[in-house]
Amino acid sequence: MRFILLTVGAIALIGCRQDMHDQPRYRLNSASDFWSDGRAARPAVKGTVARGMLKTDAGLYTGKINGRDVLEFPFPITKEVLARGKDRFAIYCTPCHGLTGHGDGMIVTRGLKNPPSYHSEALREAAPGHIFDVITNGSGSMMSYGARIPVKDRWAIVAYIRVLQQSQNVKLAQLTTEEVEKVKASERPAAPEKKAAKKGGSH
């Protein structure tokens, strides 16, 4: 009798342990007291290349070939790529650059300086590789977004920036007669875009 009670009691006590719950293994971003930097995640040894991650395509990964900004996109820009670019732009770029790229994002209302507008002559002329490089490595007070945005998404953003630049710099002569009629019909041609920009700034 006494033996049964002890066994049941012991089993009950074992049931209270959390060994399975808190397993002695590292999870992503866990702390470790084994390594001097306190991190369980180890930086790759210099020169290590993960399978399928050999970045031989310099144009794709750096936006530069032989130190020069690439002038063409490394893959065809389809409607899907533009949609993806718009989506990613809204997440990562609008807080500072605003929805239309005028440099009037939310941060301006918080006391930060306006980032440069995309609609300057210099940036309209800039090579796609240059814009890609700025996103990847940062520029001025803009931090690098290379670690945050995967490479193809960065190119999609570059493509969408081109769309934005185009949207703010259309000559009347480039429009079809129908579109010209539309423009004439509305008193303020740029109204919808302006509205969008304001929305971005009022966050």
Partner: protein, 228 residues
């Protein structure tokens, strides 16, 4: 009368309880049942309380980061910081670089941001306290949920209203299964996944069933779905 028994045996055979204890024995039958039930209920309550489930109380953090300010106030998208939520099991904790994207220019002297600046200067990680701590025997993948139309707020609650992060649900298996058995009551259109203000429409059952079919959502309730 046979008197061959010794005094010790005679004592053993005497009545232990007098007739006056009869009501007690009847009461004790009911009392034992009540105590067992009450004890069970108490255990259940303790087990589903924040004390055990860790739900509904904010965690101390090295920097009192406010999701309310950054999401509802400033309009940042979840993915601005949790960059890998759509493509990996782990939603991703922002690197110090992400904080410094703005805080190298604004609130640069704020005392509460001192740990961030320290981390930036020394390269040492900020040590946040994990709020959503699943048991080691549970496999969970953010990306599949997000890509199948399960919104952030479905599990994490109104994060855009949390000055300090807390766990809005128990994360118990029974809670997981509630949705795994009836996903049509919880899914939303993919473009609303990151919408913190999203409310399920009145015809959720109808819309949900449509989305479950469209997104090919399975009712995964096998043990090995999560325990592998």
């Amino acid at each position: 009368m046979y008197t061959g028994l010794g005094p010790r045996v005679r004592w053993l055979m005497s009545q232990i309880f007098s007739p006056s204890t009869n009501p007690l024995s009847k009461i004790s039958i009911v009392a034992v049942a009540l105590l067992a039930g009450g004890g069970g209920l108490a255990l259940w309550e303790v087990n589903s309380s924040p004390f055990v489930s860790r739900a509904n109380y904010p965690f101390e953090q090295p920097v009192p980061f406010s999701h309310k300010h950054h999401v509802a106030g400033l309009g940042l998208d979840c993915r601005y910081c949790h960059t890998t939520v759509e493509r990996s099991a782990f939603a991703g904790m922002p690197a110090t670089e992400t904080c410094m994207s703005c805080h190298s220019m604004i609130w640069t002297n704020a005392p509460m941001l001192e740990p961030v600046r320290q981390s930036w200067a020394t390269g040492k990680s900020l040590e946040w306290n994990r709020v959503h701590d699943l048991p080691g025997f549970v496999y969970f993948n953010h990306s599949i949920h997000v890509n199948k139309g399960v919104g952030c707020s479905e599990c994490h609650g109104p994060v855009d209203q949390m000055p300090l992060m807390y766990q809005a649900n128990t994360l118990y298996m029974t809670w997981c299964l509630e949705c795994h058995r009836n996903p049509e009551m919880r899914v939303r259109p993919r473009d609303k996944v990151f919408d913190m203000k999203y409310k399920h429409p009145e015809n959720q059952a109808e819309l949900g069933a449509k989305l479950v079919a469209e997104y090919k959502i399975q009712k995964l309730t096998d043990c090995y779905t999560c325990h592998r």
